[in-house]
Amino acid sequence: MKKRIVSAAIMLMIITSAAFAGEIEIANAKVITSFQKEFVKASDVQWEKTNGLYRATFRMNDFVMYAVYNEDGSLAGAYRNLVSSQLPIGLQTELKNQYSDYWITDLYEFSNNDGAGYNVSIESAGQIIIMKSTNATEWQVVKKIKK
């Protein structure tokens, strides 16, 4: 019994240190420093590395968010999913008044080198519309797809 408890403790240590080492390896010090400064209240942070970019998935202010960093620690982009009531008022009313026959299938906020804004995909029985807003005031149609 005693042997089992000791083995379990060692196993736990190995797992914990491996996870810690993995995080250090995945996100370099510059990236982690920038991240901690920019997303002070982030929790449940998980890192991935893809195509030379570091992606953090985390929770902040009750949102699941994503931040993408370059090797030098500069923020390449950040994203979070939203519900329509979290949109700026102009975007909310436009969706409600002009697209009342549609339902929202995807809505997220983005911020990257191209600027900051919102993307929405809405769908009706016969059509899908993808729209973008960079002024947080009105939507611009990006694409219309017939079903």
Binding site: F39, Y79, I89, E109, A136
Partner: protein
């Protein structure tokens, strides 16, 4: 305090605020536009803005209090509402954390005017308060500095 800040916020737009009265009836065009823009609004109160030929309307929409300004042609010129800090755009939050990490965020007003949305954030430290104007991109400028904290200690 809240009312004062809303008025201050709206007064930063292209028109200046004079005193408001409830004397003149609101034009039909304006009423029609308002009903189209905010179809589910309730607790609607209109006032005219003296010397400006503009209408200011205060109402509730999705359980939030909003102030909007219309002209007699029915054009929506400006809106303002309080929002929770969690609703600030990502880059505004990150910039505030970087630039005002030692301050406590007290209130956020979202203002839309001239086709642009910006955020007026009141921040407070031990000795002073500051109202900053933040663009959705995270560009922040000081709107007003106040010597003393605007809110009482809790």
């Amino acid at each position: 305090m809240k009312k004062l800040l809303l008025i201050l916020t709206l007064s930063a737009s292209s028109f200046a605020f004079a005193s408001a009265t409830t004397i003149d009836p609101v034009s039909q065009r304006t009423l029609k536009s308002f009903k189209t823009d905010f179809s589910t609004a309730n607790d609607v109160k209109w006032v005219t803005i003296e010397g400006q030929d503009l209408y200011q309307v205060t109402f509730k929409y999705n359980n939030e209090e909003i102030i909007a300004v219309y002209n007699p042609e029915g054009e929506l010129l400006s809106t303002a509402r309080y929002i929770v800090k969690e609703a600030l755009p990502i880059m505004v939050t990150t910039e505030l954390n970087k630039q005002y990490g030692n301050y406590i965020l007290r209130t956020v007003i979202e203002r839309t005017t001239n086709g642009e949305t910006s955020y007026f954030v009141t921040l407070e430290s031990e000795k002073s308060s500051v109202v900053v104007n933040a663009k959705p991109s995270g560009n922040i400028s000081v709107y007003k500095k106040l010597a003393k904290p605007v809110f009482e200690k809790q």
